[in-house]
């Protein structure tokens, strides 16, 4: 493992993280605010002898990803909200076929064409599955450029360890902002996928990767197996906390909103308010137990999201009955900043009384 420090955009960190993780195929279609990813890939991928394909569309890109993943070759695609909507069928197929594709969504404002600013309006799509059927992606929500880099490495490892598609959910802020990033090269397990990947049936029986299960009860069995896997993944869930130990109010926020909320909280701390921040790092599996552990009597929760109320449902389900969970939605279309969170936080603190 070699490490060095670079000054990178979140989009660039995604690229270098993926390459460090041994990614050797990238398929993508341009869309703001993630164009740095295909643009940088178009030159960087060639350098490592991998393949860069500008797909005809996001539908094409996601299905190319499916094909590469079926070969057990580390591959990913990236897009932003409308493009990710177009990938939902393919993602459902990858989940159904147990294929380890990695998808990056640098989300932007919606619905529809919306705008090109930051948004967390795709939480439901990412976490509950925007495609059809009962499936889940492992969902990471990086908040820093360092995490953008690290999460790409984790994404491939989890994808291959569990044979699930992995979604990395960033936003326009993360994609466009620059920060110092310590780059490092993990050991990649080249054997991951050895027993199922396609490479030609030479000297062994043929292999089949599919999601069609027509025989009586076969699909039910398959779904049961997937659900077991999702339950088994629960220990992978992570929650990052700051200043929660003595907090009267815990703010729950993910991704860039999580770090912006941290700024607001530290401002308020300086004014004597006991406020902490809990940032789910994995959105699926959701850090249920970790949140429940925070729900001591008398403590309140405020979920802040840049959307109209999505993750708050998972927070409420996690804390059901144990604590009150208020919600503040910073609407997509407005650039978020800590000052605008102050009043909602004070309100939530006051509501306690």
């Amino acid at each position: 493992m070699t490490a060095s420090r670079k000054f990178l955009k979140g989009n660039e960190a995604v690229v270098y993280g993926a390459l460090a993780a041994g990614c050797r195929c990238y398929f993508g279609y341009p869309i703001t605010p993630q164009n740095d990813i295909p643009e940088l890939m178009s030159s960087e991928m060639v350098k490592v002898g991998g393949q860069f394909v500008q797909a005809e569309s996001e539908v094409g890109a996601a299905n190319m990803l499916l094909g590469a993943a079926a070969c057990g070759v580390r591959a990913f695609t990236s897009s932003s909200s409308p493009g990710v909507s177009l990938m939902q069928e393919a993602i459902s197929y990858m989940a159904g076929s147990e294929l380890p594709g990695v998808i990056v969504n640098m989300a932007r404002g919606g619905p529809g064409l919306g705008d090109i600013g930051s948004s967390q309006g795709d939480y439901f799509q990412a976490v509950k599955g925007g495609g059809h059927g009962d499936y889940r992606c492992y969902v990471l929500a990086p908040a820093t450029c360092q995490e953008a880099y690290d999460h790409m490495i984790e994404a491939f490892d989890v994808a291959y360890a569990w044979r699930v598609p992995v979604l990395v959910l960033g936003d326009a802020i993360l994609g466009q902002m620059k920060e110092p990033v310590t780059t490092w090269t993990p050991d990649v397990n080249a054997d991951a996928g050895k027993d199922w990947r396609l490479e030609g049936a030479s000297g062994r029986p043929e292999r089949l990767l599919k999601s069609l299960f027509l025989e009586d009860g076969a699909l039910a069995g398959h779904n049961a197996k997937l659900q077991t896997r999702y339950r088994d993944m629960q220990p992978l869930s992570r929650l990052e906390t700051v200043g929660v130990d003595d907090a009267e109010l815990v703010i729950v926020a993910f991704g860039t909103i999580g770090r912006i909320a941290r700024s607001a909280a530290s401002q308020l701390r300086k004014q004597g308010h006991k406020v902490g921040v809990a940032r789910p790092v994995t959105l699926f599996p959701f850090p249920v137990a970790q949140l429940q552990a925070l729900a001591v009597p008398g403590r309140r929760f405020l979920t802040i999201e840049q959307n109209c109320g999505q993750m708050v449902e998972d927070v409420r389900l996690a804390l059901a009955g144990k604590a009150e969970v208020a919600f503040h939605g910073h609407l997509p279309g407005n650039l978020p900043n800590p000052d605008e969170f102050i009043q909602p936080i004070l309100d939530a603190l006051a509501a306690k009384a």
């Binding site: 050797r24 195929c25 398929f27 393949q51 394909v53 797909a55 005809e56 569309s57 539908v59 094409g60 890109a61 299905n63 190319m64 990803l65 499916l66 094909g67 590469a68 993943a69 079926a70 070969c71 070759v73 591959a75 069928e89 393919a90 197929y93 076929s97 396609l198 490479e199 030609g200 049936a201 030479s202 000297g203 029986p205 043929e206 292999r207 089949l208 990767l209 599919k210 999601s211 069609l212």
Partner: protein
Amino acid sequence: MTSINLAALQQEGYTEVATLPEVLADRPMHYCPGCHHGIAHRLVAEALEELGQVERTICVSSIGCSVFIYNYMHLDTVEAPHGRAAAVATGVKRARPDAFVFTYQGDGDLASIGLAESMHCANRGEKLSIVFINNTVYGMTGGQMAPTTLPGQKTTTSPGGRCASTEGLPLKMAEIMAGLGGVAYSARVATTSLKRIVEAKKAIKAAFQCQIDGRGFGFVELLSACPTNWRMTPLQANERVEKELIPYFPLGVFKDDANDPACSVSGGDS
């Protein structure tokens, strides 16, 4: 009975002709009586074996009656979403440039929902092959109109017959493919008689050879019968291919850069 005769025959100095390729699985197929999918399967299997590709082949199955092709061939296979086989195959080939990659797709799959993926894959000159089964209907879903349905042909969604002025004319995919830059080979064949089958096999091998040689994308369109959805007996359906399909969809090789180097992909500086 079969097995008894077999042993006897072998002892008596008979040799089998046109033996079944080993890559074909020994199990009954789900296709309707007289469906040409089975004939096409055999040709693909023969071509793979004769070209020595079986062990490095990755098959991309599509959604249509032939989705179960993986039950009938001992090949590493991935199932593509409806219409996306060419995109999936692109991913497969890019990930494993050493593999022999082909898709097997119906007309609904390739020419309707998958038109963009199919054409862009061809135009990029992906080094892979597509076997395209044109039976002028959506077989699997029960006989709806396809982009290749003939004018006037009755289907479950064109009960009065396909109307050219509002539903358009059938797409001639072999010709469209031949017009694209990255395509090294494009042909249309049929499987209605031994003569046609021999031609078809030649075309499939030629298309596969393009990939083996790294010359580019190879495409073969097989005009095929779907007796069930044509509401015909297998023999009537077989005849319809000759009498109605071939006149509209002419058989032939529309592009072959092995014969005509001028057709080969050129231009570009890198």
